[in-house]
């Protein structure tokens, strides 16, 4: 069965969910606090005559109801970055602190890596990895425009990530925002459901497991790993967590999120998952008028 129908059993208010998936999503921006304050950006958007609306859960995000970012002064100065609301969730949950070392395992095109650099106040080190040179070029364009000085970019398969270039030290935190079937981007990419296939989900979930496993291994004892996707498929979400919980010494932990969400599912079709996957959060398009998203926070054992 194809999405969205295959999720009827796990999504509350399924008809509203289906209707929300068909509505286009307005542009959103994140204030790049490396270069400007929220007040600076408000003033610059006012001067440029660009309408913007705050969002409830994050004071550095604005929805642009009438336009997309790109051809105005605050964009040119790297004060703002076009980033969908839910895309700002995982770095917010990871919450790295100034001076820390962070790994972004699948970093291009860099919205989250630059957000991590902003969260550490551009003091510390964000190692941003991607396996695709074309996408790395987009990542580089963004790190330059946003003026991030704490991001190093590596071209490699995250599953075999090497700590060597940076002296071998493990990370304080890791962000694992993996490639996925992207069902949750349906409001921006109307082909997302048509292009969906079970064989792709099966293939990509193997990659997701290996990347998350590598991230847990590359993170210090007591460190934090955030796993996220922009998809609804439990095969790519709770099943991946279940797999890694069994093999690596780590645990899911609870976290606050001021967006309306549902807990992770522990049963899907014929499978049952570790009961702690409930601590993961599912974000559906009809609850907050956003894209769809999945986010889990793990702690590496001491």
């Amino acid at each position: 069965m194809q999405p969205p129908e295959r999720y009827r059993a796990i999504v509350d208010d399924f008809e509203a969910f289906r209707a929300a998936c068909e509505r286009p999503l307005p542009s959103a921006i994140r204030v790049n606090t490396i270069k400007a304050t929220v007040a600076d950006v408000r003033a610059a958007l006012d001067e440029a005559g660009v309408a913007y609306e705050p969002v409830d859960w994050h004071d550095a995000l604005f929805v642009l109801p009438e336009t997309s970012p790109g051809a105005n002064w605050p964009y040119f100065h790297g004060w703002i970055h076009g980033q969908e609301e839910v895309s700002a969730v995982p770095a917010t949950v990871l919450a790295p602190e100034p001076g820390e070392r962070v790994w972004d395992a699948c970093a291009a095109p860099g919205s989250k890596a630059t957000q991590l650099a902003a969260l550490i106040e551009d003091r510390g080190e964000v190692v941003a990895t991607d396996n695709n040179l074309g996408r790395i070029s987009a990542l580089r364009t963004n790190t330059e425009r946003l003026g991030a000085t704490s991001i190093a970019v590596t071209h490699e398969d995250a599953r075999n990530h090497s700590l060597k270039p940076f002296g071998g030290a493990e990370y304080d935190r890791a962000l694992v925002d993996v490639p996925c079937s992207c069902e949750g981007t349906i409001r921006k990419n109307p082909d997302a459901f048509e292009e969906w296939s079970m064989s792709h989900v099966r293939g990509i979930s193997g990659v997701q497991r290996d990347i998350l496993e590598r991230a847990v291994q590359a993170t210090k004892a007591g460190g934090t790993v955030v796993y996220s996707t922009c998809t609804f498929a439990p095969e790519e979400n709770e099943a991946v967590l279940d797999y890694v919980l069994e093999r690596e010494d780590c645990a899911l932990v609870d976290f606050d999120l001021a967006l309306d969400h549902r807990e992770g599912v522990t049963e899907w079709q014929d499978d049952e998952y570790d009961p702690s996957v409930r601590l993961a959060k599912r974000i559906y398009p009809h609850f907050n008028d956003t894209g769809g998203f999945f986010c889990a926070k793990l702690e590496v054992a001491q």
């Binding site: 051809a71 330059e144 940076f166």
Partner: protein
Amino acid sequence: MSNDSTKFTRLPESDADREAPERATREEVLEFWDDRFGVPPETFADYTFWERGKGKLWLYRGEPPSPVDVEALGMTFLRTRQEHWKPTLEAVQRFGEHATECVIHLSEGEAEAFVAGYDQELDWDGDWGYLVVTHELAGRREPVGVGLYVYGELRSQVPKGRRRELDN
């Protein structure tokens, strides 16, 4: 191997530590920003400088072992190994607020023409060469990029991929 173009090599502190004769030293880079633009050397105290290829300098917040073979290390910063060293647009946007000399302030219309890539005839009493270009944004003088002032003309150095026709 330290001149390998895919590797980043950390700049030596001063002449005494220099192995490759053409490579700039940290001391020279700090002097350049101070002499040309009045940017105090302590502005860069928390950053390391790296060269990749011949003369392209990068600025980074961390201190990995040198040389390091990665795709990028912080931001592109300064072009050396040519007669007149040239700061990048991104370096000027990030650190140009500390500049007190060789700064040219543009009106709104002039600044829009500058970011669209146009050269403009403008009055300027100071040195010729690379200037920090500023304009008024959100109540302050904000650095936009680098211009080359010669023969009564400010030549926009905004890279092609960075140029914009602004909506304002």
